[in-house]
Amino acid sequence: MVNMNTSALGIIFPNSYDALVPDLVNVRLMASIPFASRYRLIDFILSSMTQCGIDNISVMVNNNYHSLMDHLDSGREWDLVRKNGGLHIFPPFAEKAAKPYTGRVGALANILDFLRDEREKYVVITDTNIVVNFDFNAMIRRHIESGADVTVAYNQQELPESLMRSQSNDQGYYYTFGIEDGRITKIYVNAKDPGVQNFSMNIFVVERELLIDLINTAFVRGQEFFERDVLLPRLNKMNIQAYKHEGYIARICDMKSYFDENMKLLDEYNLDSLFSGHQIYTKIRDDNPTRYIEGAKAQNVMVADGCVIEGEVENSILFRGVRIAKGAKVKNCILMQDTVVEAGANVEYLIMDKNVTITAGKEMKGTGTFPVYIGKFQTV
């Protein structure tokens, strides 16, 4: 075949790490959290995959997934309406004997028949709490060259404070690696070590046939977590390679990091770093261009289409369809889709979820270390 696509299929876990941002996932899941003025978190992984030629993608939705279904629709915006492959959404299979799954093993066990029927040689597995313009082809090439059984992507950074503080495992597991000559020799679960760590990005490349075997075995034994129960015990038996990601990365680990990672994109160096690779696709809303009316003042802002700005806005991220009325002041805020700041209102350090309204003359302020979140459809 001409221009043969990458021989890999993609599997995305959109609910991973939901527990880290309970407010934001109250009415949605990690994958559909709005980010960078017009995207949802899943857009970055999805667009990276399709533009690397991965066009057979399964999304393993578990709960709260209406918003994601609405966002993905048929998959057309990502060029995923395909006769062969395309977008598959796999909700949990409702059956008397089936209990809800908590880890990747249960989810993948549900689709083993599907995996057996596919033809791609490799499988790429990811979460969505990481915003990254990722070159899957480079990682697959490295996987093949190194002769690995499994390759896992990581980056080097300090562990976020919120993960360090957490005393229980209720919010799920995160992983750091000990690496020797590119091979992962240690996997630490929920480590609290200070300093720069080899922090797993939970992006895996594995041969499809091997994945089927591993999942089969683990599921029969009642195991849940791919990293903890499947990879960790096999560090000696299997060649598990680490793939270092050097490019731009934004991790959503809590409300603070959600706020900070959005704000970081106001620096054009960061913005260009994130968007200079693959084009990132998202759902089209057909908004008109944003209108700045006489008296509007905008400084250091990123703004999507469909906004009408009459007031003052500074150091902020505005999603589609935001209205800032005359005399209103908005500073250091994230305003999601269709939020309204009425005349004379004065807000600072707020994260306003979709369709929030701040009524005329109100004053409301969070702080840089503690931005205040206002839930969807609330009126202040």
């Binding site: 960078a36 913005l271 700045y292 999507a304």
Partner: protein
């Protein structure tokens, strides 16, 4: 299954009066209003009115237009039966011909129309900015039991002689048609939007084709022939926003009117009558600290570090520090470098305006020209483009063009 009404959109015009803007693309593909192209307006009107079958008649520089229309998905016109079809002239067993006129273009596609067996056909024009509900128009056509209806606008009497005018009786029935007359008897200007009963249209197209002296034009031939035969012809009054954007100055004006929807009447913020377009897919626009943006429309992908006043910026425009843009229409992908001054002009797509270059000027005295810079042109540093210039070739640094 028959369709009640299908649309035929005349998009073959060269748009020679738009000169530098239409060298490489057909007039309906000319960008408009920050993120649209002119053709988005009739196409969106069709979809919003419930018309799901549109034939687009093209022959001049169709490549950009063809790619833009694609399968019609952005306008929801990717349909199993119907949808949007681009119709260039094609070779038939009996020979082939360019479209000789507006009527001939439809005549050559009679077999396309018959595939849908419509009762009515609406003829649209691809060079107007207008939000119109064609279902209202069809309702009027049916109520009057008309065989032909034309959408008309009241224009000021002193301008009437520039238009094709419909003289009507009390019941809106057309009794006379005057094409750009010296002494107008009416101020009802034809908008060039017609609804025909298909059987009538077909009969008159065939008659017109058989006439070797005909110009094969709706205004000059078909409408006079209908009048000659005393057909039931009615004028449907339209009083929304309508603008023919066939000239540089009217195109510039129509863009500027978007900035003032409260007074000009074109409101793109209408949730119930969206104008659809093919999306650029760029990130949100970025306005840096120190930039000034006043009374303007800005869309995705723009990066603004300079000053933008009363202007329309299309997707991906970059305005560097110290650059000033005022009363200007700047199309997608254009870069305005540091210190450049761009005023009262139209700059086409992917233009580079060098450092400290000057393009156009605010009106003063009798001089109110709209400077125009064509697609992909590079204007060198310190170059100067006068307010009446039409630039379609690169201008070297320091040179002047008037």
């Amino acid at each position: 299954m028959a369709k009640e009404m299908i649309a035929m959109l005349l998009a073959g015009g060269q748009g020679s009066r738009l000169y530098a803007l239409t060298e490489k693309l057909a007039k309906p593909a000319v960008p408009f209003g920050g993120k649209y192209r002119i053709i988005d307006f009739p196409l969106s009107n069709c979809v919003n009115s419930g018309i799901d079958t549109v034939g687009i008649l093209t022959q001049y520089q169709p490549l950009v237009l063809n790619e833009y229309i694609g399968n019609g998905q952005p306008w929801d016109l990717d349909r199993l039966y119907g949808g949007v079809h681009v119709l260039p002239p094609y070779q038939k067993a009996s020979g082939s011909d360019w479209y000789k006129g507006t009527a001939n273009a439809i005549y050559q596609n009679i077999s396309f129309i018959e595939r849908y067996d419509p009762q009515y056909v609406i003829i649209l024009s691809g060079d107007q900015i207008c939000k119109q509900d064609y279902s209202d128009f069809l309702k009027f056509h049916k109520e009057k039991n008309a065989e032909f209806s034309v959408a008309v606008m009241e224009v000021p009497w002193e301008e009437a002689s520039r238009f094709g005018l419909m003289v009507t009786d009390k019941d809106d029935r057309i009794v006379e048609f005057q094409e750009k007359p010296k002494n107008p008897k009416s101020n009802l200007a034809s908008m060039g939007i017609y609804i025909f009963n298909w059987d009538i249209l077909k009969r008159y197209l065939e008659e017109d084709e058989a006439d070797p002296n005909s110009e094969n034009d709706f205004g000059n031939n078909i409408i006079p022939n209908l009048l000659r035969d005393n057909r039931r012809m009615y004028a449907h009054h339209f009083n929304g926003y309508w603008k023919d954007v066939g000239t540089i100055s009217s195109l510039w004006e129509a863009n500027m009117e978007i900035l003032d929807p409260e007074h000009s009447g074109i409101n793109l913020f209408d949730e119930d009558w969206k104008i659809y377009s093919r999306n650029s897919g760029m990130t949100g626009h970025k306005i840096s600290a120190g930039a000034v943006v006043e009374n303007s429309m800005i869309t995705d992908g723009c990066r603004i570090k300079g000053t933008v006043k009363h202007s329309i910026l299309f997707s991906g425009v970059r305005v560097e520090k110290g650059a000033v843009i005022e009363d200007a229409v700047v199309m997608g992908g254009t870069v305005v470098k540091a210190g450049a001054v761009v005023k009262h002009c139209i700059v086409a797509e992917n233009v580079t305006i060098g450092e400290n270059a000057v393009v156009g000027a605010m009106p003063s005295g009798d001089e109110n020209g709209v400077a125009t810079v064509g697609d992909g042109v590079i204007i060198g540093d310190n170059a100067k483009i006068g307010p009446r210039a039409m630039v379609n070739k690169n201008v070297e640094g320091g040179e002047e063009e008037w």
